[in-house]
Amino acid sequence: MTVVTTGDGAAPGTVDGMTQTTTRQAEHTATARASAVEVRGLQVAYGDFEAVRGIDLDVRTGEVFALLGTNGAGKTTTLEVIEGFGTRCGGSVSVLGMDPATQRHALTRRMGIQLQEGGFVDELTVGETLSLWQRLSDRPDRVERLLDRFDLARRRDTPASKLSGGEKRRLDLALAVWGSPELVVLDEPTTGLDPESRRRTWDAIQELQEAGRTVLLTTHYLEEAEALADRVAIMHEGRVAVSGTLAEILATRPAGFSAVLPADAPTDLPRFAGSTEIGGGRLSVRTTELQADLTAFLGWAAGRGVRLSDLRAAPASLADIYHAVRTETGTTAARTGTDTTEVAR
């Protein structure tokens, strides 16, 4: 269940991580920024299927915003509307002060886009692809810089069809950040990448942020959102279930502790403020009163001479919240499950 996240000094969720987030927030407020992306009541439907059911999003200038969610939650559909490629059937969308539905071409000057997959001409080499981009883009940049930045210099003369999945993804990202656009929209930038490539992509995203750019990304990976994002939104079934800074989101959820009890342990457990669950010999408690409940539990164990193994205590993690979002709306999922799958075919 819950895993203690200590180890890396600056891992979000630890004290260091919190301070970092707070400092960032302070800087944000200080510069009093407008929204780079403002979405209000966005609705998108494919036929009878409502892919996006009235969502609000605010991506502030200069921040990294992560859109989380399962497959089919509506993330890519939302991005497509923001990019100007998708058609909305309700709500308003403003990207860098423009409406992507009518000003898409003007927007491409200021917005870099990474699509979810493919799109390279197989026969063109990495170098040729970048050179072509240089002549098609309105933002000046150098082919050499991007080859070096994304470790593609060795593959310069390799046709796109011969690149590995990770190399393709890096070339993708290179095109998206070409000329360092004000806003970069990345659809699952690290899906299918090895840890080294993922690290490199994270560095590139952080670099963009340090340069004052705004980044909006979707991801399946919670640790990616934790490591990169100033703010996150979790989408589920076409709606935004939770959104805010990591600290804000984590604070809304109970923390938890768990331990494996010996088979002969007495059953007179103390009354906890939170909810208790026992499975496979492991006791798990989710509680808003972590200190009190944990004290009671440890007191109980000490008083009865119970030897606990694998004792863990942790604040709520993004993973907990993610799972909570999915299970809390489980009934809705069951009800609309059939039409969802039909459309997904």
């Binding site: 000057r109 799109g119 001409v121 002549r135 933002r139």
Partner: protein, 255 residues
């Protein structure tokens, strides 16, 4: 932003992408050779097998033009559009900064170049072998421009109903046959009478313009005939482009 240095006007972008597309054709030896050799072989074959003479020659030329426009431009163009959409290349290039129209034009450039090259090859063969020279030059110009406009429109419209590049071989067949048939028919039918109504068929203008090009008789007379035949090509081109504009898909989802 200071983008002036990048030197990327709309025309330069189209040139850049069109140039890249042409490079790819040249690199693909098989395609390059076949698209040049095939028309030479066919052109020579028809010219010799069908014979000369004022009655037959316009038919030979109509056949040459219809095949060039139909196969060289329309089928190749449709295949290219669908293949580029299927591989998500169109979708990606839309994020680059080139306009939608420029993107389509550049994507169709190889097909246009192949068709024009084939027309030039046929012209040379016909001048060398044939015994008739076109006398109605406006009809020739209208033939080339109107024919290209119709084929580009038809390729855009056909790509809408073509889910995969392989399917293009089937989805393009009706239009190719229709145009070949109509073009040849317009050369052979009587100059007057209700059969002239065939001009309403897409691609029939090609045959009528070839007929007029060689000084052939049509009921409407050379000037009105040229205008009517050109209008037939352009109206159909407009119809196809309108259909495409409504339903064109840039990404491969849902076909």
């Amino acid at each position: 932003m200071t983008t002036a240095l990048a030197g990327t006007g709309p025309a330069q972008k189209v040139t850049a992408l069109a140039g890249t597309e042409l490079t790819l054709v040249v690199r693909n030896r098989t395609l390059a050779v076949s698209s040049v050799l095939l028309p030479i072989a066919l052109g020579v074959f028809w010219a010799f097998s069908l014979g000369h003479g004022p009655e037959v020659w316009p038919m030979v030329v109509a056949l040459q033009v219809a095949v060039t426009l139909g196969m060289g431009l329309y089928v190749t163009g449709t295949q290219t559009l669908v293949a580029r959409r299927h591989a998500r290349v169109l979708q990606r290039l839309r994020t680059s900064g080139i306009s939608d129209g420029g993107l389509l034009l550049a994507t169709l450039t190889p097909a246009l170049a192949i068709a024009l090259a084939q027309l030039v090859i046929f012209a040379v063969i016909d001048v060398v072998i044939g015994d008739q020279v076109p006398s109605n030059w406006p009809a020739l110009v209208a033939l080339v421009l109107g024919g290209i406009a119709l084929m580009v429109g038809a390729a855009l419209a056909t790509s809408v109903v073509t889910p995969t590049p392989e399917r293009a071989q089937i989805t393009t067949l009706p239009m190719v046959f229709l145009m070949l048939g109509a073009a040849i028919a317009m050369v052979l039918i009587p100059a007057t009478g209700w059969l002239q109504a065939l001009l309403l068929v897409p691609g029939a203008g090609v045959g009528m313009l070839v007929r007029l090009m060689f000084g052939g008789e049509v009921g409407l007379g050379p000037t009105l005939g040229t205008i009517a035949a050109t209008a037939s090509l352009l109206v159909w081109a407009a119809v196809f482009i309108r259909l495409a504009a409504h339903r064109f898909r840039w990404d491969p989802r849902n076909g």
